[in-house]
């Protein structure tokens, strides 16, 4: 199934790459409505309605720019509905501004609606785009038939066909594009994860030996001499029980520390004893919430932390995790060097991926500090 997930969530970097198209669409919407209105200015019968139409087109363009900002997480259905609402309002106002003129091939309303639907394609699942397309097609056909009914067209129904064609063509083309990309992303993802799984399997023996060496190192130091002594003297003395309890306690302590250390501790353990000014480095996760992230979330966070720590000696990073209601909230703080714009530009792809896999995602770069806040569900 490819219709349940948006391209923004499936391929956040691709969607970020394609944001220029969203911005172009926003500019085109304003330009279309302005140029077409000026070109047909002699036919305008209601100038206030024409201005309202133009303002609505501008508002919908601004909403497109805001909703697609990399600073925001995935676009919600509510945002998409607001964008389309202003598009429809602009269309209606433009029809009113020419009323009672018959529908013409250069009415800008249907084109703006079509471009809006196309612009939304990467940000919402295909089923939403198809539903929006169906609703707006009915809207455009209805408005056009209403216009035709006043003036009467030479060929009944043709104006509606002409108006609805772009409203159908562009979003359907967008949906086909997204389905093709989603199929490829899925294939690629399966290939990568299978290869990673195979590599992990291949390295199982190596990892096992490394773990064995660590464990045996501890046991060789304390347990083996104790056992060897017991075997050689072949008897238990009064102090042996105490010694055995001590050793068991020490081993349990090491095992407990291992149990409580998560993948996140392993990743940024090196920062534990360093201070980064206002940032508390290391991981504060008293409830072991880092383990509850899924593979996508761990991957995105690991990639961001790796990038933040890329500079010599590793950048200073701190992560705090706590529960909020039924879910988990994390706050990542890091010391970053350089100009704010350059930092944002360098980190934007990683932050886009974070935004795609976590909920309630936001970030802020102020002075030399990056703060990222994100949430995730408890399984």
């Amino acid at each position: 199934m490819t219709d349940g997930i948006s391209l923004q969530r499936a391929d956040p970097l691709g969607t970020l790459s394609g944001r220029a198209l969203t911005l172009t669409a926003a500019a085109a919407i304003v330009l279309f409505s302005l140029v077409f209105m000026v070109a047909a200015r002699e036919d305008i019968t209601d100038w206030p309605a024409a201005i309202v139409g133009l303002v609505c087109a501008a508002v919908t363009a601004i909403l497109l720019v805001i909703m697609s900002s990399p600073k925001r997480g995935p676009v919600s259905r509510g945002w998409a509905v607001w964008v389309l609402f202003f598009g429809i309002a602009g269309h209606l106002a433009s029809v009113v501004s020419y009323w009672p003129a018959a529908p013409r091939v250069n009415d800008w309303g249907p084109y703006v609606v079509a471009v809006l639907l196309l612009a939304l394609v990467p940000y919402r699942p295909i089923r939403d785009i198809l539903a929006f397309t169906a609703v707006l097609s009915v809207w455009v056909v209805g408005i056009t038939i209403a216009q035709e009914s006043v003036q009467g067209g030479a060929v009944a129904g043709l104006a509606a066909v002409m108006a609805v064609t772009p409203v159908l063509a562009l979003p359907l083309a967008g949906a086909a594009f997204v389905m093709e990309i989603l199929r490829s992303v899925r294939r690629w993802r399966i290939n990568v994860l299978t290869a990673a799984e195979d590599e992990a399997q291949r390295r199982e023996a190596e990892i096992t030996r490394a773990v064995q060496e660590t464990r045996v190192g501890i046991l060789n130091r304390d347990v083996v001499p104790f056992y060897s002594e017991l075997i050689s003297r072949n008897k238990l003395e009064a102090t042996d029980a105490h010694r055995a309890a001590e050793l068991a306690g020490a081993i349990r302590e090491v095992m407990l520390a291992d149990t409580q250390r998560s993948w996140l501790d392993e990743l940024i353990a090196a920062d534990d004893d360093r201070q980064g000014g206002a940032i508390r480095t290391g991981v504060r996760d008293p409830n072991g919430l880092a383990r509850l992230m899924n593979l996508n979330q761990r991957t995105a966070l690991r990639a961001l932390i790796n990038t933040l720590r890329e500079k010599p000696g590793g950048g200073l990073v701190g992560v705090t995790l706590h529960t909020v209601g039924d879910g988990c909230e994390a706050i990542l703080a890091a010391v970053v060097d350089g100009h704010r714009y350059r930092i944002a530009s360098r980190l934007r792809p990683y932050l886009a991926v974070m935004g795609a896999v976590f909920s309630e995602f936001s970030y802020e770069i102020r002075a030399d500090r990056l703060t990222v806040r994100f949430c995730y569900d408890r399984p």
Partner: protein
């Protein structure tokens, strides 16, 4: 999902997907042209216009072929057929009465847009943009020639031009921007690989912790409770086995218990071992289930069962337990029931690892689940469920420990 397309694949795949989108637009506008022609025909049936319908149908057929093949030759053929269709439509437009002229010209416009949406063969942006521009040029020339042939002055049509601008903007913007964000995809991919390795390390560590618990911690506990004096044979064997496990054994050999298993597998071995140390085991249920597991799963189940029986012997205050085997289509389950002292799972100290590592860790590592029901004073029941042969392991199926009161 965190793993998007890498830059080296994105170029080809995105271009191909844009071409698909262009073909969808062409399909819709050809459909619109067909509907417009039908509406015109219903209004003004004229046999001179019938070749236009045939040309639209032929162009639709070429589009289908182009979608299947996509070679430059088919694309060129599509443009030629489209040019003929456009010329025909433009030349017959003048045969309609003046009020129907705009509608007839719409058919011409739709055909011109369909030509722009040729999609372009190959993966190169230049060639795809080149084909779109060629489609615009061919369509415009055909429309102008058709109008001139019919003795009419050609008019400016902005829709094909707008369509060409759309195609050029989409292709060129995508080509320019794809170098940007996708360049970090390799580091995301590497992070995913590191995560898989970290998962593997975590499984290995859980296995090692379980092994440590079964061997060294168990023996140390036995030393603390054994009486002073000469080492008992059992304790001596146990210490020697531990030394062998610590110093000599290669932990990469998964079946660390060594020796030959009972014909019914390691689970029956474990039950026999437990009987030897004085525990009275009542084994019931479907013994045939013992053969419905992979070797590593049976091994993990047996080791977990052994730890449960050790727990019964050491902590339950009873010397008997019932072990019930049963199975479902995709799983095999073992239930261990004792009527001993029971325990409060919430009150178990965090450094008591028997149930967590030796039982839960092992079972979850092979894709199984553990459920515990225990009430102080009323005994304990533990249900171990593991995947049977032929079932695919699920991603994440851990079940929480439960406690009844």
């Amino acid at each position: 999902m965190s793993l998007g397309l890498p830059a080296h694949l994105a170029s080809r795949i995105v271009n191909s997907a844009i071409a698909l989108g262009a073909h969808v637009v062409a399909t819709v506008v050809l459909g619109a042209a067909a509907v417009a022609f039908t509406l015109l025909w219903l209004q003004h049936p004229d046999v001179r216009s019938l070749p236009v319908a045939g040309a639209i149908a032929l162009l639709a057929l070429m589009l289908w072929w182009l979608r299947r093949d996509g070679s430059p030759g088919i694309a060129a053929g599509y443009l030629v057929i489209g040019a003929i269709a456009t010329w025909l439509a433009a030349s017959v437009a003048s045969t309609y009465p003046p009020p129907l002229h705009p509608a007839a010209l719409y058919v011409v416009t739709a055909l011109q847009v369909a030509l722009v949406m040729v999609g372009g063969p190959g993966d190169r942006v230049r060639s795809t943009i080149g084909f779109a521009v060629a489609g615009l040029a061919v369509g415009t020339v055909a429309a102008v020639a058709g109008r001139l042939a019919a003795g009419e002055a050609p008019s400016v049509d902005f829709l094909p031009l707008l369509s060409a601008v759309l195609v050029i903007v989409v292709y060129s913007t995508t080509a320019l921007s794809r170098r940007d964000a996708r360049t970090v995809q390799p580091s995301i991919t590497q992070a995913a690989k590191d995560e898989k390795l970290a998962e593997m390390r975590s499984v290995v560590e859980a296995r090692a912790a379980a092994l440590l618990h079964d061997t060294v911690l168990g023996s140390l506990a036995a030393i603390t409770t054994d009486r002073e004096g000469e080492l008992s044979d059992t304790l001596r064997r146990r210490i020697e086995a531990d030394l062998d496990a610590i110093v000599d054994q290669d932990w990469t050999e998964r079946t660390g218990q060594g020796g030959t298993h009972h014909s019914d597998g390691p689970i029956v071995d474990v039950i026999e071992e437990a009987s030897e140390i004085g525990l009275e085991i009542n084994l019931t249920g479907e013994l045939g289930q013992l053969h419905r597991m992979r070797d590593d799963v049976a091994e993990a189940l047996a080791l977990a069962l052994r730890q449960l029986l050790v727990n019964v012997q050491q902590h339950s205050g009873t010397d008997g337990a019932e072990v019930v085997l049963f199975g479902e289509a995709s799983s095999v389950s073992v239930m261990v029931i004792d009527s001993g002292e029971g325990f409060d799972s919430q009150a178990v100290a965090p450094d008591r690892f028997g149930l967590r590592h030796s039982v839960q860790g092992r079972i979850e590592a092979v894709g199984g689940t553990v459920r515990v029901w225990s009430t102080p004073g009323k005994g304990t029941s533990v249900l171990l469920t593991v995947p049977s042969l032929g079932r695919r392991d699920s991603d994440d199926e851990s079940l929480p420990m439960e406690r009844t009161s």
